[in-house]
Amino acid sequence: MDLNYTPEELAFADEVRQWVRAHLPPETRERVLHHKRLGKEEQVEWQRRLHARGWGGPRWPKEYGGPGWNSVQQHLFDEVLSEEGAPPALPFGLSMIGPVLMAFGSQAQKDYYLPRILRQDDWWCQGFSEPGSGSDLASLRMKAELDGGEWVLNGQKTWTTLGQHANMIFLLARTDPAAKKQQGISMLLADMSTPGITLRPIITVDGEHEVNEVFFDNVRVPKENLVGAPGMGWSYAKFLLSHERTNIARIGRSKSELTRLKRIATEETADGVPLIQTPGFREKIAAVEIELMALELTNLRMIAAERAGQAPGAEANMLKIKGSEIQQTLTELMMEAVGPYALPYNPEAREPGWHGEPIGPEYAAPLGPDYFNYRKVTIYGGSNEIQRNILAKAVLGL
């Protein structure tokens, strides 16, 4: 047993760190670390730089243009990028539809789409949830009927993250209305510019536009846009969701958020004493830091098991549960740290180009909204209640 990284692993991390420091635009780094909004172009540009270095798909196998890293290298890469303030990788292409196409797509789909994902030529979005089906994906109602050489789509999707930037969507639709719930569902790809697709923003309580509803009104897509076999959409979706778990604990990000929290708690004072030295608040920071230390080690144990050839099972769901709880605690403590200055609502201050006078300390503006926004992390990707159901069944046999 040895909890230290090997010299080779440390050298790898260092190589990544040096490269990121040389290639990440400082203003992008600044925005990421201070929770300002990122522009679409900025996000695309960063992915292209990574791709040019050969690191566009850190979890992709070599044959599809990935670097062929092992799980420890993948983990270190995530860690370093988080610490250095790189934009979080967009999961839709890289960790969602990409792996599905690798496993189940046609040769033509692989040849066409996979390189485009790495280059970020396409911005993908996801069309799984519907207004009536949140945790219960099998109840979805969107229809796809074959008409001549085309699928005709009718229905509605919701919670489509960053759909406003996307030019492509992968979705689940019911292709066989006679089949039972899970059966009869297929996975399809659609160009967002196809006539009949309209997008309606959902504004969340933090005032941000991050998610959307997508309406399909007699949308015609080519027959070839079916992924794999008809009726297999449900099992592809399960495959996809198990891949989405990668980096789901978001430990690297939480570590940099912990650093940010400590910085804020050093600036803020109560009765003249920095909060970070105040018993009570100091212990709250310590408590979440220890939870995070433990989760990091739990994650490393699973990564080691994965490298040793043991595919992580549903135990990995605990990373989602604990990881999301820690993220929420961090946003809550940051909001608490600024006291009354959590109240002003100043969305302009999050704009890339804004240089006005802040209300209160310059770091305060995102803290209230982020706290509200982060309630989502225990809801999306299968709520923590669903995660516990899965663990109870799959790991505990209940």
């Binding site: 919670w159 504004i203 109560a270 003249g272 009354p340 200055y341 509200f372 989502k376 209640e385």
Partner: protein, 379 residues
């Protein structure tokens, strides 16, 4: 021991409840939020007409001579409606300070205007580095017999945006954290040297950053004794907390109702989600949190005007702790039980959650008051 409502209280409850039900629905409130002022002057006039602004004022000043408990009834209804008009800044803090510390001349000049809905007040006390401290005041007032000059900065002044008159705390003597040497001044909007930077708060109310640079006020602008304002400040904020407690109870109860309704109507896996035991138990704990909060809000309203400052302050801190913890629990779980829909602007749950969060940040959060309570207790 008697928890029943008096006739006046029943009347106030029915009046406020009807107003909220008929004119302050979710859509109506959204329109008010989107308006230029961020609140409705028309609604404020209606409050005046219905007598809601003068509940505590004596009849000769245009009020109905009620108690803080009567006011609490109105606040609970306002909590249900998430009323954004500056009721606490004007009626609870402002009028309360005037009644407690004002001269007859000050009271008779300002309070009737307030009861008629023609005067907004705000209490400009907190400062950029004061956090929740009551005594960290660095703003200064110099001068004396022929008036004062005020200098300093005031932070997150609730209702400061639209206030006609600000009640500003400043030091006429004493060190920055001393209880002694604090004084209060009435400062008219538009006074030279007074800068008000208004903004929305995360929960849709309004506040302001206020700076005073050589603001001149006459001797008659002094509210209460020079250098002896601390007890008035403390009581005003205790009243403000008691008001937040009642508002929070209305808020929590409405949020719990919305959530319970969602559990009963939203189906997943072919059954209402309220049939899942885990969600049921969370809902039960949210209901208990609400009832515990209600008990402490009743206590806070009972004690808000008590002259026994140590006992009052202890009860008020206890209530704020309970409200903060209950509100956090109810708010967070309401969103979790709703899932995605709870996080959207189009649905009421998220707004209640934001208001409960803001209440915990106002006049001292649960940790601050837990510590204050514990310190008072050990003393």
């Amino acid at each position: 021991m008697d928890f029943s409502l008096s006739d006046t209280q029943q009347m106030l409850r029915d009046t406020a409840a009807r107003l909220i039900r008929e004119r302050y629905g979710f859509e109506a409130r959204a329109k008010i939020l989107a308006s230029a002022d961020g609140f409705s002057r028309e609604m404020w006039a209606t409050f005046a007409e219905l007598g809601l602004l003068g509940v505590e004022l004596p009849e000769e000043l245009g009020g109905i001579g009620g108690s803080f408990q009567d006011l609490a009834i109105v606040l609970e209804a306002f909590g249900r409606g998430m009323v954004v008009e500056p009721f606490i800044p004007t009626v609870v803090l402002g009028a309360g300070l005037l009644r407690a510390a004002g001269s007859e001349a000050q009271k008779s000049e300002l309070l009737p205007r307030l009861a008629e809905g023609r005067l907004f007040l705000a209490f400009a006390h907190g400062e950029p580095r004061s956090r929740y401290s009551l005594t960290h005041v660095t703003a200064t007032a110099t001068g004396g017999a022929d008036g004062y000059t005020l200098d300093g900065a005031k932070a997150v002044v609730l209702g400061g945006d639209c206030a006609d008159v600000l009640i500003v705390s400043a030091r006429t003597a004493g060190k920055p954290d001393s209880r002694d040497g604090l004084s209060l001044f009435l400062v008219e909007r538009g006074a030279p040297g007074l800068k008000i930077r208004g903004y929305s708060t995360v929960d849709g109310t309004r506040a302001a950053e206020v700076t005073l640079a050589g603001v001149r006020v006459p001797r008659s602008a002094l509210l209460g004794p020079e250098g002896g304002a601390f007890p008035f400040i403390q009581q005003a904020l205790d009243r403000g907390i008691a008001a937040l407690c009642s508002e929070a109870v209305g808020n929590m109860q409405a949020l719990n109702e919305v959530t319970l309704d969602y559990l009963k109507t939203r189906t997943q896996f072919g059954v209402p989600i309220g049939s899942f035991q885990v969600l049921q138990h969370h809902m039960v704990d949210m209901y208990i949190a609400q009832e515990q909060a209600r008990s402490m809000a009743i206590l806070a309203a009972d004690r808000a005007d008590s002259p026994d400052a140590p006992a009052r302050t202890k009860a008020i801190s206890a209530a704020k702790v309970q409200i903060g913890r209950s509100g956090r629990f109810v708010g967070q779980w309401a969103i979790q039980l709703h899932g995605g829909i709870g996080t959207t602007m189009e649905y009421s749950a998220g707004h209640y959650f934001k208001r409960l969060t803001a209440i915990d940040r106002t006049f001292g959060d649960a940790d601050f008051h837990l510590s204050r309570f514990a310190t008072l207790d050990a003393a």
